[in-house]
């Protein structure tokens, strides 16, 4: 178990990617609980099932900020289906290895927020067809 944050985490803390908001987002997602703890908020711009832009904000611990930043990088400029499949393990790899004990919730927090932004987009677009596509794609996973 890691005792402290990897340098990659600190790098994301000090130079977070894709911070901010979008003027006219295709979807917005938020996770966490503002009253007592961490909050993550993702805004996405989607065109032709491609994640053109992603912006995020986080109130929370270092792991949350870094995970949001890493996720935004991994997801951006990808097909929606790929972006949606970015996993906890992918995030851990991008962050240089396991997070310190007790900090793993950050992964869930940011993934939840991004997925909610996608849902928001699908809901707006009545995206049932897309979800079918996703299910078929998922068959190829191991």
């Amino acid at each position: 178990m890691a005792e402290r944050y990897n340098p990659q985490v600190i790098e994301h803390l000090v130079r977070p990617r894709n911070v901010g908001e979008l003027e006219a987002p295709s979807g917005l997602g938020e996770s966490g609980d503002n009253a007592c703890g961490d909050v993550a908020r993702f805004a996405v711009a989607i065109e032709e099932n491609r994640l053109l832009e992603v912006r995020y904000k986080v109130y929370g611990c270092v792991a949350c900020i870094a995970a949001g930043s890493a996720l935004s990088e991994l997801a951006r400029d990808r097909h929606l289906l790929e972006a949606a499949r970015v996993s906890r393990d992918d995030l851990v790899d991008a962050l240089g290895g396991p997070l310190p004990e007790g900090k793993e919730h950050a992964l869930t927090l940011v993934l939840d927020a991004l997925h909610k932004a996608f849902e928001d987009h699908w809901n707006k677009k009545a995206g049932t067809m897309l979800v079918d596509d996703y299910a078929r794609g998922a068959d190829n996973d191991g």
Binding site: Y5, L13, V14, P16, V19, N34, V58, Y59, V62, G68
Partner: protein, 392 residues
């Protein structure tokens, strides 16, 4: 190990003074033969003398007799020994009074007593962190075995009116323990004027080694040991003595005694520069009484930012500061500081608290550099934050 980092967390621990290290090396280095202080032979006698010299130095710092000083392995152990030991020495009395802002070394000792049937009264503090004096007076009862209030708080740096508190206890005939771990070396302490029963110190808060503490025990105060065995320290704290560490403590308190005023002046100027610089940013607020505070302590709540992020951002920029209380900060989970909650702060304010504590060797340039870094970190982290700053 980062040598170029600016260390501004002296409330958590202080760097070892070179002269302290020298004193320790007299016992540690191979050139001399060190014995066990309990041994009869010459190396044993030499070790014993080393310990006794340090004891005299610690006694002098608080204006006590050497025979009134016991060595322990930490401030924590000294606090435990006082609270548990004073209570155990009066088995008939089953009530304990502490303040709501004590260090965990005292609060957990009180909880330990609570679990064995004691009743514990926790006296509240004002929004400035200062104890409710009349609340304290009311809390004292005929069956109070021990009362404990710290001289100065480790988080917000607030200095308590211990002289009054001690007076109240003295009148009521109640043993009074004072945790002076943060105060020693920063404020003059004179047990001949303040009628405490016991008083805890820790070497590593005043440029001495980590893992060495002391308890002043007033002549005549009754105390039961917590650690028992070979009967060292008059049977009140058994275990082979950390002779080198104790020697270092002795050297450290000698320096602290001689340089007290100079250190205080130096630290206060830097502290005030940090306070005025940092609080000039919007949404940055000083916690704890602005005057009744330690010479070296600045404690800030920074709206919209979690302490951990700010601490590590500053660390990346080369500045080491504390988040809330160091003791709790690396433990798992996310708990608001009970000290800040007792002062009426919200959970979010507590989560956003950082402590900047300067030291005797901190320079003006370091403070200037810090204020730059602090501004950068706060600005950048607020950009990431979902939090929107209230209009100020």
């Amino acid at each position: 190990m980062p040598n170029d980092i600016v260390y501004l967390d002296h409330a958590a621990t202080t760097p070892l003074d070179d002269r302290v290290l020298e004193a320790m090396l007299l016992h540690l280095s191979g050139a001399t033969l060190r014995g066990n202080p309990s041994s009869l032979h010459a190396p044993g006698a030499a070790a014993r003398e080393t310990v006794e010299e340090a004891r005299a130095a610690v006694a002098r710092l608080v204006n006590a007799e050497p025979g009134e000083v016991l060595f322990t392995a930490s401030g924590t152990e000294a606090d435990n020994l006082a609270v548990m030991g004073l209570a155990a020495a009066q088995p008939g009395k089953r009530h304990v009074v502490i303040s709501a802002v004590e260090h965990p070394a005292v609060t957990k000792a009180a909880e330990h007593l609570e679990a064995t049937g004691y009743e514990v009264t926790r006296v509240g503090v004002g929004s400035d962190g200062i104890i409710d004096l009349s609340g304290f007076a009311e809390a004292l009862r005929p069956d109070t075995a021990v009362a404990a209030v710290m001289w100065a708080n480790n988080e917000v740096g607030v200095v308590q009116p211990v002289e009054e508190l001690a007076g109240l206890c003295h009148e009521a005939g109640i043993p009074f323990h004072v945790d002076a771990v943060q105060a020693a070396g920063r404020l003059p302490i004179d047990v001949s004027r303040v009628p405490v029963s016991t008083l805890a110190l820790s070497a590593h808060k005043l440029y001495g080694p980590q893992g060495v503490g002391a308890l002043y025990v007033r002549e005549g105060a009754e105390l039961e040991p917590v650690i028992v065995g070979g009967g060292q320290e008059k049977g009140l704290r058994s275990g082979t003595e950390n002779v080198a560490g104790i020697a270092g403590f002795g050297a450290a308190v000698r320096l602290a005694h001689d340089d007290l005023e100079e250190r205080r002046r130096h630290e206060e100027a830097l502290r005030d520069a940090v306070i005025s610089g940092a609080t000039s940013l919007p949404g940055v607020r000083l916690n704890g009484h602005p005057q009744e505070r330690l010479s070296n302590n600045v404690h800030l709540s920074v709206e919209g930012i979690e302490a951990e992020s700010l601490v590590l951002y500053l660390d990346a920029l080369g500045y080491a500061v504390g988040s809330g209380s160091a003791c709790a900060s690396s433990t798992i989970g996310h708990k608001a500081s009970p000290v800040l909650l007792a002062m009426g702060r919200t959970e979010n304010e507590a989560f956003s608290a950082v402590r900047i504590s300067v030291g005797k060797d901190t320079s003006e340039e370091e403070v200037e550099g810090f204020l730059h870094a602090f501004t950068t970190a706060v600005t950048q982290l607020r950009e990431v934050s979902t939090f929107t700053l209230a209009e100020s």
